[in-house]
């Protein structure tokens, strides 16, 4: 393993931030204060962080409706995100995007997306731009098992291969597209098996294992940076909440999530490994837990006390200019 202590601390901190952010949004949503549709990423943290640890601000990612984790992993500022989720004027998208449209292009985050499978074509464009700009950047499309069945995803795999783009397609298979099991909706055993049809490497990785994801991601990203073309990586993982906040999850077994949290929590697995191997100590992790809890507290209070957009904001930023 080639991660130094600083990187390990960073990885744990990012994953903890995502978990704490999502757990808190879950609680706050239940109070009725958060408007709209919210989809939480808790349980999947190792995937976003395992990939984004390899990326710089020049590298681009496109995300999904379940996008908070990708945003945090890519360095989007947490206070701006929380304010956005609360629909405040100082939100990262000025209160016009909300949970499903958080974006920060300066951080290379091209947006969460309300349309399942919309990201892969955009990421082909980001990869194409990187080729012209000769900046060595790569572009990563995160999709779910649901989007893996969309035509846009398959078209993008083909186009990325035909154009030899520096793109990585990450299928986060959390077992359910909304309420439908991926064992039913995906026609082959692994989503990654489809890579062969598009002439690119396909790799299945345990998405609960940060270290495994980090390694596979590193290889695919290195390959793309060096002009070797696209890859399809499938992270098999689980979500700890429903499809959306308010989902009673009757399609899951009674103790399914409880068992998953015990057996397949990527944060616990990370902690066990770094402590077992003496890479970090308990104090390290406890300090991060405490710091992150304060950050999230601050973000929520900050969002709640921030002003909402005003009526003049309704018609701004529809166009760059419109006579």
């Amino acid at each position: 393993m080639n991660l130094n202590e600083t990187q390990l601390l960073q990885a744990y901190r990012k994953m903890r931030q995502i978990r704490a952010f999502e757990d808190r949004v879950h609680e706050e949503f239940a109070t009725g204060e958060i408007p709209g549709f919210v989809h939480l990423y808790a349980g999947e943290e190792a995937s976003a962080v395992g990939f984004c640890m390899h990326l710089t601000d020049e590298d681009r990612i496109a995300s999904t409706h379940r996008g908070h984790g990708h945003c945090i992993a890519k360095g989007v500022e947490i206070n701006g995100m929380m304010s956005e989720i609360y629909g405040r004027r100082n939100g990262i998208c000025a209160g016009k995007g909300g949970s499903m449209h958080i974006a920060d292009l300066e951080k290379g985050m091209m947006g969460a997306n309300g349309i399942v499978g919309a990201g892969p074509p955009l990421i082909c464009g980001a990869g194409l731009a990187a080729k012209f700009q000769k900046n060595g950047a790569v572009a990563v499309a995160f999709v779910g098992d649901g989007a893996s069945n969309q035509g846009t995803t398959m078209e993008s795999l083909n186009l990325a291969s035909v154009w030899n783009l520096p793109c990585i397609f990450v299928a986060e298979n959390n077992g359910y597209a909304e309420a439908t099991s991926s064992t039913w909706s995906v026609s082959c055993e692994n989503i990654a098996d489809r890579a062969a049809a598009f002439g690119m490497p396909g790799v299945v990785v345990d998405g609960h294992d940060f270290f495994a994801v980090y390694e596979v991601a590193g290889e695919a990203i290195k390959r793309a940076r060096e002009g070797g073309g696209p890859s399809l990586i499938e992270c098999k993982l689980n979500r700890f909440y429903g499809h959306f906040e308010g989902d009673a999850q009757k399609y899951r077994l009674k103790d399914e999530v409880k068992n998953l949290k015990q057996s397949n929590d990527c944060l616990k697995k990370f902690a066990d490994k770094v402590l077992d191997q003496g890479l970090l100590n308990k104090k390290h992790l406890a300090e991060i837990d405490e710091l992150v809890a304060e950050e999230i507290d601050f973000a929520v209070n900050h969002a709640k006390s921030s002003e909402k957009p005003n009526s003049a904001d309704l018609l701004t930023d529809v166009y760059v200019n419109y006579p």
């Binding site: 995007g97 974006a103 349309i115 083909n158």
Partner: protein, 333 residues
Amino acid sequence: MARIITFREAVNEALLQEMERDPKVIAMGEDVIGGSGAKGEMDAWGGPFGFTKGLYGKFGDRIMDTPITESAFIGAAVGAAVCGMRPVAELMYIDFMGVCFDQIFNQAAKFKYMFGGKAETPVVIRTSIGAGLRAASHHSQSLYPIFTHIPGLKVVVPSSPYEAKGLLIQAVRDNDPVIFCEHKSLHYIQEDVPEGSYAIPFGEANIVRDGGDVTIVAFGLMVQKSMEAASKLAKEGIQCEVIDPRTTSPLDLETIVESVEKTGYLVVVDESNPRCSMAADISAQVSDQAFGSLRGPVKMVTAPHCPPPFSDVLEDLYIPSPNKITEAIRSLK
């Protein structure tokens, strides 16, 4: 000295001049080179209509053939635009937009707004519109009202070679997503077009013909048909003012309203189907803003509410003709 070139050559020249001017401009589409991966010549087609012929020789990798994969390549053009390029994508027929509409109306159109003003998406999607080639329902529609409906998009419907060159240069330089609709029956018409580069601003209508008796507003090929109708009516002593708005979004309503205040009559000629069309839109807006000036009902001359038919007899009935325009105007007087 006059330099007479076709609409197709005018579009080609606009692309060439913009690609020379700005290295961020790239072009892509199905067979826009023609011959990629095949054993024969490259640049065999220069696009299905020959509009991009010769660009490959000048710009190499900056013009790209795509597989037949509209969702992916239109999305790639949109994505590259957000990442600092200025792509011009050719989508052969506007009828194919259904395959990739999400990338246009949910992605390109909304990035700036949804992302709090922080994104710009300077993409141009060139596409062909219009009936008249006996190409039937999947290759003949004039769907620009659908795009006009979407906030965040700009929509251009050029009516001549001169207009096409200046408006396309503006489209490439514009920082918003632009749908550029080229009527197939205009491809080979000719006119004097300056060799030098020039941009025609969006949202500024062109008064193609002055007249005090009735205002005709028309788009694309319908400008030519309206001019024919206006010439006929002039012989009967009816002077038509013909307005080409050039862009449906933004729309220069002010020029239209000023003309209606002068003439008191309005006929809108639109090859689209009538419901929720530009004809319906302009009729409603003029009724709202110039009701007191109207001395008769607003007339819409449009295609009927049916798909474009194949048989020549039926298609000729489908397309608004100079006769239908003159009939509509005579019914007012």
